[in-house]
């Protein structure tokens, strides 16, 4: 099992979720984060003072998936999030040792979906 973390552009969230659904990855955890990346972003301006804009609004996705879903998941995210422009984001894959469904107490890969 893997724990996949993806950081994407906020406006791409819907498309990414759609792509994931198409690939039968239905479960996800989504949160707002601020990212510092290569992208410099649209500088904000306040009373003619330009904000460095080094921290940009992004969305973070977390997905626990079974091993045979990893590639499909990465591809789905990439497909949904890619524009080819700087700031598209990254995907990180960590190893997931255990997964528990609280409702049933079920463990392991059966609990993921």
């Amino acid at each position: 099992m893997k724990y996949i973390i993806a950081v994407i552009q906020p406006e791409k969230l819907d498309e990414v979720l759609d792509e994931l659904t198409k690939n039968d990855v239905h479960l996800a955890t989504v949160s707002n984060i601020m990212g510092r990346g290569v992208q410099k972003g649209i500088a904000e301006v306040y009373r003619s003072h330009k904000e460095a804009g080094s921290l940009l609004k992004k969305v973070k996705l977390e997905l626990a998936v079974n091993d045979d879903f990893v590639d499909a998941t990465i591809e789905a995210i990439s497909k949904g999030a890619k524009t080819g422009a700087i700031g598209d984001g990254k995907i990180f894959v960590l190893n997931l040792e255990e997964c528990v469904r609280i409702r049933t107490g079920e463990k392991g890969s059966g609990a993921i979906g």
């Binding site: 406006e11 819907d14 649209i42 500088a43 904000e44 301006v45 609004k57």
Partner: protein, 435 residues
């Protein structure tokens, strides 16, 4: 959609022909030579301040309902409209609307008050002329501001500014003149105490035209997130309700019994509409909702506007109840069928509510209040004035949109729309995330 607008066009073309014949002698509403009354002046000035406050109130009412990334764009549009229309009003708008000479008889005022010439501290009725001018100016401000709800979240700021300047001059000012400035609608006996045709139908129909012209938001209807901050929308509603007392009661231009009646019926209609919408929500969606309650409040306030100087409290209850029912039906059932994207239901609430209110004034008017009794004849006059306003507002708005769009694209690019107008058009964010 096309069929609808086509059908409307046909109706309007017919009207266009007929009302040209209708234009009759205009009355000058200059009754001056009276002296200034301090109570009336105090009242009208405070009411003017209340009406100004409605525009920020509207900004929050609308702004709370859009997505976070477009919040500022709605707010700045409201404020920039205050700026644009005020200057337009001072230079030419007041003169076009209320000039005693007329450029086109019965249709639009002349240049006699250009740059507020002869609009000073002298009495007009029982108040200073400049007080009358600024009170009316506040109406000219909020009317275009109402429209922005229809095209929110996808319209280019620069194009909007140009459009608003044109719209105010070529749609608001003439219609205002027709009804209140001595023009042909007033002359034919139509009742519009505080702006059913001039303000709400006018703005509502322009909103519809704009929504049709500019097209749906990307993702509409299923991928548009819910109102990002309902409390702000509720705050805006409270401010609107408060300001509406100035709007309706102030339209009497004096602190007297009719003003008091207008105040009362305004409140009663709004309260009734709140209850009506909540009950409909309760029945249909199982739960009364906050968005329903505030939409009902606005629907009630809209519908009572033309009637507020003519109906009694029982009439107000009927108007409020009717407005919520009709607008509810329109917004929840008809609009989704039509499939156009009037983002914040400007047509569904201001247009439809205004039409209902204007017509209902015709049969609910109480002779004891405003001197006119409700009748079939009066209702027909009301309907006529409504149709004329709808036709003119729709066609002219559409033409203006077409022209503006030739020079500056009204719709932002898809990328800008996805990023959000706050950042793409104004380089700002409503809220910071950290700290």
């Amino acid at each position: 959609m096309l069929t609808i607008s086509r059908r409307i066009s046909v109706i309007v073309s017919l009207c266009l022909f007929s009302y040209i014949g209708l234009i009759s002698e205009t009355f000058s509403n200059e009754t001056s030579l009276e002296t200034i009354n301090s109570g009336d002046t105090a009242f009208v000035l405070v009411c003017a301040a209340l009406v100004l406050l409605m525009t920020p109130g509207l900004a929050f009412f609308y702004g709370g309902l859009v997505r976070k990334k477009n919040f500022l764009s709605v707010l700045i549009q409201c404020y920039i409209i205050i700026g644009i229309v005020t200057l337009q009003w001072v230079f030419i708008g007041y003169s076009f609307s209320f000039g005693s000479s007329e450029l086109i008889t019965g249709f639009i005022g002349g240049f006699d008050h250009f740059a507020l010439k002869n609009v000073g501290m002298e009495a007009k009725g029982t108040i200073p002329h400049s007080a009358f001018m600024i009170f009316q100016g506040m109406f000219a401000i909020i009317t275009p501001a109402l429209i922005i709800g229809a095209f929110a979240e996808r319209t280019r700021f620069s194009a909007m500014c140009i459009f608003m300047l044109l719209w105010t001059t070529l749609v608001y000012d003439p219609v205002c003149h027709w009804v209140w400035g001595g023009g042909f609608i007033g002359a034919m006996g139509a009742l519009d105490f505080a702006g059913g045709t001039v303000v709400h139908i006018n703005a509502g129909v322009a909103a519809l035209a704009f929504a049709l012209f500019v097209g749906k938001r990307k993702g509409y209807p299923d991928k548009i997130s819910p109102p990002h901050n309902l409390p702000f929308a509720i705050l805006g509603t409270g401010i609107l309700w408060f300001g509406w007392f100035g709007f309706n009661a102030g339209s009497e231009l004096a602190a007297d019994g009719i003003a008091a009646n207008a105040f009362v019926v305004t409140h009663v209609a709004a309260a009734t509409a709140v209850i009506a919408w909540a009950i409909l929500d309760w029945i249909i969606n199982k739960k009364p909702t906050v968005l329903g309650v505030i939409t009902g409040a606005v629907a009630g306030l809209v519908a009572i506007t033309p009637a507020s100087g003519f109906v009694n409290p029982m009439g107000a209850i009927i108007i409020g109840f009717g407005s919520s029912s009709i607008c509810y039906f329109f917004v929840a059932y008809l609009k989704p069928k039509f499939g156009y994207d009037d983002s914040l239901d400007v047509f569904g609430v201001h247009g439809i509510g205004g039409i209902w209110g204007a017509i209902a004034t015709g049969f609910l008017a109480d002779e004891a209040i405003g001197g006119t009794a409700g009748s079939l004849a009066q209702t027909m006059i009301q309907i006529k004035s409504v149709i004329i306003t709808i036709g003119y507002a729709f066609i002219m708005t559409y033409i203006l949109l077409f022209i503006v769009n030739l020079f500056v694209k009204l719709r932002v690019t898809t990328e800008e729309e996805l990023i959000g107008l706050d950042l793409s058009d104004h380089r700002e964010s409503a809220y910071t995330v950290l700290e």
